[in-house]
Symmetry: C2
Subunit: 222 residues, 2 copies
């Protein structure tokens, strides 16, 4: 499959790009608003992968170009940019493209971060509203430990939660997730359940703030 | 310590009562609105503990009597009863009593449960508003796998999150939690972070609904 990681120059985008390129046969395309930045990041990832014997798996393009002909487009951008990016790529995606949103709205307050959903109820719902008719939207990859994800020397033992209304698209994203060694995808139900999934991200940040020795916190359900 | 478990006749109350009686030296008092029911449950727990060589650790009383002279009072009652119970015991507790709230407001919808906080922002905040002046309030024990907790044959490997504004009270509750083998307490920060902690409960229920082989779901942060 061809996976576009828009905002693939950030933390979570970097980790997913490296892991998919390293653990799977998928083609990874890094997208950015700035094509130079996308190309530079793709080269940086290629260098890292090359040192591990993996070659020519990652390319970099401007967002719309990166989304073009992708099977899955991951919107690895901040929550407040997500609608702009969906509009930017709108004419390049159709019902055969799955849009994946890992973004979470958070607000910093005294003693921690709080979940701050958009009026739509969740970022996943916001993306579903902004997406072109018929394009399936899946929320996933919100709650990964980004530093561990981006370090290929680290063996993962993490869960990610997949939420959305299109069961085929959800299964597809769950399979993509499970292609990464040590990552397990769990089904959190329909899109209406997305807020509870997204709320987990500020909680993980708060645990890192308040517990000695915890940082880059991930989660396992058992 | 003397621990009162009000609503100690329900799922989570039963598990905490049995575990504290079994794993620690604390005195456990089961409370209920109905003193007969409290006594019957206490006897049931005693029988279970007796078969494991633990004797005379659990008694049962009407709520206000149970709370009287307790060091820690756990409000193991449904979210919509919590204020009534605090009022019921108000004249038996003071600044030397820590009130612990494990309750979560949830609403069932299509495909799952959603977090449904009271106007106060969280059940923990609601209890803090209802509590007598100076009584410290701690949110904890929301996200335990209740069936496993109540089965002393099961070795636990679970995290619980502790949230509140009084650091001494929080430490005290974290120590109580850690007294149960296999249970780890993590600090989720001040009371203002309680909504993200409580939101985890509907998420755990949704994972049990949507994933084959998952039920009685607990969580580990790592």
């Amino acid at each position: 499959m061809r996976i576009a990681l828009l905002g693939g120059t950030g933390d979570i985008g970097e980790g997913l790009a490296l892991r998919w390129a390293y653990h799977t046969d998928h083609e990874v395309v890094v997208g950015s608003r700035d094509p130079e930045k996308a190309r530079a990041k793709a080269e940086e990832y290629e260098t890292e992968l090359d040192s591990r014997g993996v070659e020519e798996k990652v390319t970099g393009f401007e967002n719309a170009m990166a989304a073009d002909r992708a099977d899955v487009v991951v919107l690895a951008v901040p929550a407040y940019h997500v609608v702009d990016v969906v509009e930017e790529i709108g004419d390049r995606i159709d019902e055969d493209t799955t849009l994946v949103t890992p973004a979470v709205g958070m607000q910093k307050g005294a003693g921690g971060f709080r979940y701050n959903p958009p009026d739509a109820g969740s970022v996943t719902a916001l993306v579903a509203e902004a997406a072109p008719e018929g394009v399936p939207v899946v929320g996933a990859f919100h709650n990964l430990a980004a530093d561990r994800l981006a370090n290929l020397d680290v063996e993962l033992s993490l869960d990610t939660l997949v939420v959305g209304d299109d069961d085929d698209a959800k299964r597809n994203v769950a399979d993509l997730a499970a292609g990464i060694e040590g990552l397990r995808a769990l089904d959190a139900g329909p899109l209406a359940n997305a807020a509870e999934v997204e709320s987990l991200t500020p909680l993980l940040v708060n645990l890192a703030i308040h517990n000695d020795g915890m940082h880059d916190v991930g989660v396992r359900f058992e």
